[in-house]
Symmetry: C2
Subunit: 222 residues, 2 copies
Amino acid sequence: MRTTVILSGGMDSAVLLYKLLGEGDIVNTVSVDYGQRHRRELICAERLSARVGVHHDVIDMTSLGRLLKGSSQSDPTVDVPFGRYDEPSMKQTVVPNRNMVLLAAAGAVAIANRADRLAYGAHGGDHAIYPDCRPEFVYALAKAFQLCDWHPVHLVAPLSAMHKGEIAVLGGRLRVPFQDTWTCYVGGDEPCGKCGACVERAEAFEFAHLKDPLIGGYYNAW
Amino acid sequence: MRTTVILSGGMDSAVLLYKLLGEGDIVNTVSVDYGQRHRRELICAERLSARVGVHHDVIDMTSLGRLLKGSSQSDPTVDVPFGRYDEPSMKQTVVPNRNMVLLAAAGAVAIANRADRLAYGAHGGDHAIYPDCRPEFVYALAKAFQLCDWHPVHLVAPLSAMHKGEIAVLGGRLRVPFQDTWTCYVGGDEPCGKCGACVERAEAFEFAHLKDPLIGGYYNAW
């Protein structure tokens, strides 16, 4: 099975990469640069790929990102909200059609490399504020992936039944180098600790009884 | 109804633009630059949008195009085949996942502009060699578009029941400025007249009893 892995550089897709490494032939990893505020995740994706010796492609979509006004993650004039994901202010972190763009572009690279599977790290704990994280969206797009080429691509989300705490547990078991993952939405040199993404990461590490290497003294690894 | 029109600069999407102009509020037009060999079509899309006074965005996806080896339309090392579309050699004109990428990116711009509809010029005569021109692919992707955002986007293909000859007839009635459309796949300064795209365009104009302004003396318009 030839698999292309979408690697954002966050902890979920890092765990996915390490999980799939043991399951078959990973062809390549793909990241999308849409001008995201938290650009450190792209550096993490590059480091993770180099660690496991897999070719990594970054697709430059900053041109598209500039057209997507109104999201804190692609529009520098909109602030990142602080708090938990269940607060209404978090809606401003939604990037229009982000997942379809990401999956379509990575799928093109997968097809060009004759991969059979396109794997990405959507999971059960993904939040109700993101419409394109809903399983029904993924199913509809998976159907389109069966039809988009004569060489069909199976879109799979192997972490979809897990919540983020369970993903941290799995990552601990697989010895994922979490110091080479990035989660904070703000885009500073250190995790802010206050945005929804940071709060959720902290809860996942707590659930897994793991210490986050990005926090406190461990941060010197960067 | 706020509509975003995907405008390639070819004759089909030009006719679609003129058809929709009379039907409601066109918000904007969107083209995708994937490094296509026939770059004149992007100039045509810009000219057409300026003629009708609609804002035109070009999304630069040349970074993705460079990763898509093997297609004559995105890989400069692969020649454009000559002949009719029903010949096996035409398969090398297929760009991997082209339509999903195009629709996903244009859809992101549509959502950011709060459009209700995303219209594109797929039609009944699109060829069996292009898997992502099949109606079942479009239906699957339209379903995904209903789910990708809280503000659903209707993906519509108003020309889908017509063949290219009928589209030329409609374009003639709507006085579409065909001199500002580009079809040839080769990427020269004049239409080559021999590639599948040129052969098909010539047949469409013949069906409609129209003279193609790009051929012969009319070509001076450029």
